[in-house]
């Protein structure tokens, strides 16, 4: 068969399907390609589970039951302890202790000698340098 006919078949196999009946060379190529595709079955179930599969599913019954159960337990415990739920939340969210510690540390630094100021400045510089170095690393995440 001529090369022109083979090229026409290569460009549009469906339009020139009759070419396979007369050209043995093209028939061999077609058979080889069909065999390669046919012998590679894709089993979706065997592929590893991606983190985003079904991730947007919203399990409202579970969420509502869980949240209401915790709320009921919190109410019961607050009732037993003799405090209101709001009071318990405000008490828990208070950062007074941390604030006090930092204020005490700042006051102590203000009264400290020059050497302590230098030491604090050195620590501050060192820690923030390490922080910047660690932040320069690109996240691994989904590429891992």
């Amino acid at each position: 068969m001529t090369d022109d006919a083979c090229q026409r078949y290569t460009h549009d196999p469906e339009a020139h399907a009759g070419h396979l009946a007369v050209c043995e060379k093209c028939r061999e190529i077609d058979t080889a390609l069909s065999t390669v595709v046919a012998h590679r079955p894709i089993s979706v179930g065997a592929l590893p589970l991606a983190p985003w599969e079904q991730a947007t599913y919203r399990a409202w019954p579970l969420v509502v039951i869980g949240a209401l159960a915790v709320l009921a337990i919190a109410f019961a415990l607050c009732f037993a302890a003799g405090i209101s739920l709001l009071r318990a939340i405000v008490t828990g969210m208070s950062a007074a202790q941390l604030r006090g510690t930092i204020t005490i540390a700042a006051d102590a630094l203000r009264r400290a000698s020059l050497i302590w100021h230098v030491a604090f400045g050195f620590c501050f510089f060192l820690v923030n340098t390490v922080l910047v170095l660690l932040l320069r690393r690109a996240p691994r995440g989904i590429d891992a």
Binding site: G45, L71, L85, T91, V127, V130, L133, L135, P139
Partner: protein, 214 residues
Amino acid sequence: MRKGLLVTAILAATAVTATVAAPSLQMPLGPGSLSAAASMMTRTAVIVSLLFVWIVAALAVTLASGREVRYSSIELRSAPLHCFALGLVTVTSFVLTAILFSYLIPYLVGLPLLIALGLFAFLAKIYGMIAVFHAIGTLVAGARSRDDLAQRRWLRGDLAMVLIGVLLLGAIRLIPIAGTVVWSIASVFGIGVALATKFGRREPWFLTWRAAEA
């Protein structure tokens, strides 16, 4: 060289963080008296009430930006040591910077800087803890295969994983002393992963300078 630096940074930051975040030794160790029992009951009520707030916040953030939380959770599971090291250094940096800004309060500039730092630390902690909840929930109750996932009715999706994580960590937090330590470690992981992934956006914090090519 870099590994040595990392290990040194971890050791130094662990010492500072442990000193700052260690639970108070004055807390009641057991219900030895009526007042100690009442104190423990109040403490439990406060923790469980806060747990409800955490659930509401976690669900709201997961609904608003589930993909970011998921990315951070993946990062936490794939590079836990880096997240922990970054968290330790960040907490140390927060404390030192807060002391510096408190020092500057008499010069007026300190107060707005301190407020900005507090806000940033608060957001990092909230977002990071939600990523930790998601990571724990996925590790404990996540589907292992596609068939397993297909059989599940409710226990799938970001919301369910976050809820499982909150409930699990919240239950652990109720344990005296150990619970506080575990929660503090989770906070360090959370702050670390929040900064490592730039709040789940996976963008670089610093632009790299490169010479223009002709």
